[in-house]
Symmetry: none
Subunit: 213 residues, 4 copies
């Protein structure tokens, strides 16, 4: 608060902002802000982003921002919750991947969604990894989501008769994450489609249908 406070712990005004039940217009405005934030975060990075940047991108005012979010961190928290949902969704959709061309196609399509989602929520995910989201509960949500995703991969790998031990799955997810990062965060959009095709092939051959030596 101006008058000697500007408090920003995760409660207080935060709760107030979160708990108010919104009508149509309110929900629309909040969406506009979230979306704008995601865009600006992606461009400038979370820490470099000013509330003013978000507000301008959303074509609204400072005051309006604080009508929906207690502060920048609260916004990140809300985005994180959204993101967790998206990841959980990804986890339920990992397709069965056969050793043939159909398997590759299925994989490629899935990885398309995967890349898109990861690209969309990239900053949030990184913020999570860098522990910027200080809310314990939300943190747990993230851990859960990523665990489920790993489990889903493991299950599909098992179905394919491929190695699916922890380290292998770790290597797979590491690869996916790093690729997404390379494709999305760098300005160099090194032909996302080509990258996708390559990635799909690599994962197909390297993880689902390991070539006999």
């Amino acid at each position: 608060m101006a008058e000697g406070s500007h408090t920003s712990t995760s409660d207080g005004a935060g709760a107030e902002a979160r708990e108010r039940t919104l009508r149509v217009q309110g929900r629309r405005t909040r969406r506009r802000l979230s979306d704008a934030a995601l865009r600006v975060f992606a461009k400038r990075g979370y820490h470099q982003t000013r509330v003013d940047d978000i507000v301008r991108a959303a074509r609204t005012s400072h005051g309006t921002f604080y009508l929906y979010f207690a502060n920048k961190e609260d916004l990140l928290r809300q985005l994180a919750i959204e993101c967790a949902g998206a990841i959980e969704d990804l986890a339920t959709r990992v397709p069965a991947v056969g050793p043939d061309a159909d398997g590759l196609a299925a994989l490629q399509e899935y990885l398309g969604t995967f890349l898109a989602t990861y690209g969309h929520y990239g900053v949030v995910i990184r913020a999570w990894m860098e522990q910027q989201v200080s809310d314990r509960d939300v943190d747990r949500l993230g851990v859960q989501a990523f665990t489920h995703l790993a489990e889903a991969f493991a299950a599909r790998l098992a179905e394919s008769g491929a190695p699916h031990d922890r380290p292998t799955v770790a290597a797979l997810t590491a690869l996916l994450e790093r690729t997404t990062y390379a494709v999305t965060s760098r300005d160099l959009p090194l032909d996302a489609d080509a990258a996708l095709a390559t990635l799909a092939t690599v994962v197909h051959r390297g993880f689902f249908v390991p070539a006999s030596v």
Copy 2:
């Protein structure tokens, strides 16, 4: 935040601060500052770190800081140069990795150094990836170093008769990076030694001596 104010790009006072030839005491003070910075960066992250934090950790004063560095970014730049050297060093040391226990041991020892180095310079590397180091030349140094490292891995993989195409090397380095990150940046010190042993085994089996299906 004041982060953007008083910006002074790599020229001006920066040059002055860097080019001054230092005596023994001067060099010692600068080292103290660099070391402190690395420690604090690791704990808080680059952006969250205040010059004040560094100065306090180094038990010196604000004024002194600006005697050795043109500004916070200049410090990061100097650390990046150091880091590039360390990575280049790592690149020259990738050992030959045989399929037997000796190979595993050699690999494990190397990965130990690798983890240590990556752990030490973790923040700098991430800052690099997030394009915080705006100096073109220094950026190039980084790209070079990482390229050399990848080439060294590729060469050793080739020697072992293992797959060493770009994607495989990409997967390998992705795995190494992610593991280091997990081991060092998270507070969970999940027994670095055990992690090291596991990692070595995984890499040995998964990349250097792929099991025949």
Copy 3:
């Protein structure tokens, strides 16, 4: 902090600002700020006063203010401590008041200091009464000081053979407080000297030498 906090609870930076040991220049600057604050508070009232007002009155900068005080409330707290000291001082100086002209003179002189002190710290005292000073310990200091003052009055009244029960003392201090308030806070400086003389006479006759009916 700018970066998403603006925390202002009574600890944290507050402690930092308070505990730093100051040199001559530092102490001088802090004094300049305290004095300026007291002046501006008196003119505008605590809540209406902006940090900017204080800073301008002290001919220094915003940043400097926060070098010495964690925030506006911390400043009030420090002034409160000072004020408590002044009141304690007043308590030790309540003179013996004889029934004659000398007694009146002694009383008048004392009330002069009393009015001056109360005038000086008026805002702080009122802030105390309105519970703006949220620090428990400092609050206690105030209660103590005022208690001591009341006890000192009671003792002198007793010496004079005048009634000195709690309510009488309460009436006496109430009268003093209200008068000070009237004399100092209102812009109407209804001739402070005359007011002082009247007050002294009233208190002398009404409390120390009650006329026989």
Copy 4:
């Protein structure tokens, strides 16, 4: 704080809001707002109180508030007018206070109403003293009311054959005010009834029936 922005002095929309003739529901809503304001003011103090606090306490909306009051200050002004009326009322009811038990009883009953009224309008009265009510006319109302009250006391003291010079009356009213303040504003509800009895006794003995020495 935004406290000074959008100021609109007693004219303009203010007049509009005040002059509109209200129906039953309108009057009820306005009362709800006034009452809520008084309650919240008492708890937080005038300056700390946000329009939002009042509105929430009155279970209505921001928009509605500005339907009845031009702004926060206008609300205070309306309360002040109400309060002036109450004080005038108190002035007409100061009872004759005889030297016996009946006198004491009459006094005590009156002081009960007095305390209640002062407790109810405490914040308004203090706001008056601190010159927060900037409307000249309303200010005059206050001065008048308090003058009448003092005159009424003086008259009753005269009737009782007790001293009733200005300073004595000043001491009496000071005592009453301070006591009210102590009883009402402090959280310490030191048994209002007991306090009342004590106060009545003190005033009776000390002002109406001064003990012969």
